[in-house]
Amino acid sequence: MLIRGDEMKKIILLLIILLCTGGCYDYHEINDLGIVVGIGLDYQDDKYLMTYELLNIQKENNNSEIENKSYIISAEGNTISDAKVNTEKKIDKTVSFSHLEILLISENLANSGISDMADYFLRNNSITNNFYMILSKEVLPEDILNFKSKTRQTNSAIIINLLKADNTSENIYTKDQFDYQMAKIKDNLEDIVIPSVTLKQEIEITELAAFKGDKLKYYLNNDDGDTYGLLLNKIKNNNLINDVGTIEVNHKQIKIDINNQTLNINVKIIAKIEKLNKKDLSLKNEDDLIKVENSYMNLLNDRINTLISNAKNEDCDILGVRKLIYKKNPKANLVNYNVDYNIDIDIKINRGGSLFGVLT
């Protein structure tokens, strides 16, 4: 059967489109990819040490032994690009950053400033920008990424899972991703706070690290970390503990705004009692319940004051006061700003549990 001219044109056109849109140029077998899930970055003696945590995508060996799901490759260089090139020279696969989850930075790098590296990670099209920056406290990022975990997950996945658990004050969200943090540093309207991890028996979450500009300034202690998490809605189920007992925050409404040079912090909490310590308290008595509520209001008030005062002492604006001032009045002086604080806390306990008082 002969093919007419028109049909021939269509067939040629179809073949051209098929050839052009097949995407063969960008085709990579998954086994040929070095999938980077975490990057560790250290800065020592004017040199960057870069470590990649790569997924181990080889099949299990014949003895069905479970191998670690990741391995690391490290190299150093005078610049970040240099360190990257040197690291990738050691990888016999095409490096893919599309599944990058964390950037683990060392204290040395955090102390010397992190702005310099930001441009590299955000400009590079091949690196996804949906990853989190985490500080490696008292241990090198390389050691954390090289840790052999009991769970045999990748270390990057362990860190992310720890941070996404509901009960940590360092709980991370989309707005904590690397590019958002870098934008905050560039804006210079608030100081960033990032989670930190360390290595003991296992990888552990430790204190939050507060920065001044692009340099590490101090670590928030546990109480400050919890209060910070509560104020910024980062903790879903946090407990407040004092000598009266323990309450669990069920629902909270936080409002932080600025009005006439006064920073108003309004906290409304609905909580349930987890434990009572004082034997003389009875929840049948309304006055006692108010006493319990007041004790936690005082506790939280003290904690917020301590958080603010510690941050002030370190000259860090972790609550974003400058940003609030700027949004309200863009022409205001943000260098020598001075604001008063007004803390308004309302805690209601709506669930006392099965017991009216203390049993033993």
Binding site: I17, C20, G23, Y25, D179, A183
Partner: protein, 325 residues
């Protein structure tokens, strides 16, 4: 053609030039006031559209002057479309594939589409709306949890000449393709043109609000494709993630429709073979000069706005002369 089909066509085309050129340029100029620039730009567009719609624009190509103006507008939009499409594919889908293959495949698609004539083009747009609209709605809603309205503060601060440029950009990029469509359309229903144009305005407005609300001004101005990066941040129920490439399909559809319209305009001015030849030359020039040799498309952002606006004004004058004669 069904009347609601006209709405679809005008809706698609009034927002087609925004991706890549429009959104990042408007946000860069108008910052947190971009939403206002979009509204004012489209309002200006509606006013200008009101003058155009009264005339029989399809008669414009009967005169030499009209032909030249339509040709200039077609080639400008076509080259923008080719660059936009190629750069999008290179950046997001096929980073290692040579530009030649990407641009020439686009050339083949738009020629194929244009060969089916204006009715085929309309049918294609009616078909694509069933894919495009759900994806667009998913994209908008997906970023709602990330949208912070405080990113639009301080309200109306920093309104200057750049804000005016952002308004003009909105008008030029939304009106240019619409005028090209009017030049090819014989039966125009005013009401549906306005509805389609306003729907396009709402779409662009939501993209701006979603982008700035998600990224904030600093990131939205520093990223080359902020609307794409905003899509990257979508994470619905921690399950649906990394769907940005699906959401950007809508922009590819817009660009293909726009490319086909440009080629149809060239077919109306010249014979078909000349139209194909001109499209091929434009593709090659856009591909080699703008992407591979010059390697910088920024100047297109800066100057094509004034060029398209100038052409729109000239066409308005030309149509007046035409109707007098």
């Amino acid at each position: 053609m069904k009347k609601n089909g006209q709405i679809v066509l005008y809706y698609f085309l009034s927002k087609a030039m925004f991706f890549g050129f429009g959104i990042s340029f408007i946000i860069g100029k108008a910052k947190q006031n971009s939403w206002l620039a979009i509204i004012l730009g489209y309002l200006l567009g509606i006013i200008l559209l009101h003058f155009f719609i009264k005339k029989k624009m399809n008669l414009l190509t009967k005169s030499i002057l009209g032909k030249i103006l339509v040709l200039m507008l077609s080639l400008t939009i076509l080259s923008n479309t080719i660059v936009d499409y190629s750069v999008q594919i290179i950046n997001f889908f096929l980073p290692e594939t040579p530009t030649t293959i990407i641009a020439l495949s686009f050339f083949c698609i738009i020629i194929y589409g244009a060969n089916h004539g204006f009715s085929g083009f309309k049918r294609l747009s009616e078909l694509l709306i069933f894919v495009g609209l759900p994806i667009t709605i998913l994209g908008w809603t997906g970023n709602l949890p990330n949208t912070e309205l405080t990113n639009f503060l301080p309200f109306l601060d920093g309104i200057d000449n750049d804000f005016i440029i952002a308004i003009l950009t909105t008008t030029a990029y939304s009106l240019g393709p619409i005028i090209l469509l009017l030049c090819n359309e014989t039966m125009v229903d005013k009401k549906y043109v306005y509805i389609g144009y306003i729907l396009g305005c709402i779409n662009s407005l939501i993209v701006i609000i979603s982008t700035i609300g998600t990224l904030g001004i600093t990131l939205a101005t520093i990223y080359r494709y902020p609307e794409y990066i905003a899509f990257k941040k979508i994470s619905a129920f921690n399950i649906f993630e990394r769907m940005e490439n699906i959401f950007t399909m809508v922009w590819l559809m817009d660009l293909i429709l726009l490319g086909i319209l440009c080629v149809i305009s060239l077919y109306n001015i010249f014979k078909k073979n000349w139209g194909i030849f001109l499209t091929f030359i434009t593709t090659c020039l856009a591909m080699f000069f703008l992407i591979d040799i010059y390697q910088n498309t920024i100047f297109m952002y800066q100057y094509s706005v004034y060029y398209i606006l100038g052409l729109i004004v000239l066409m308005l004058i030309a149509t007046k002369k035409e109707s007098k004669t």
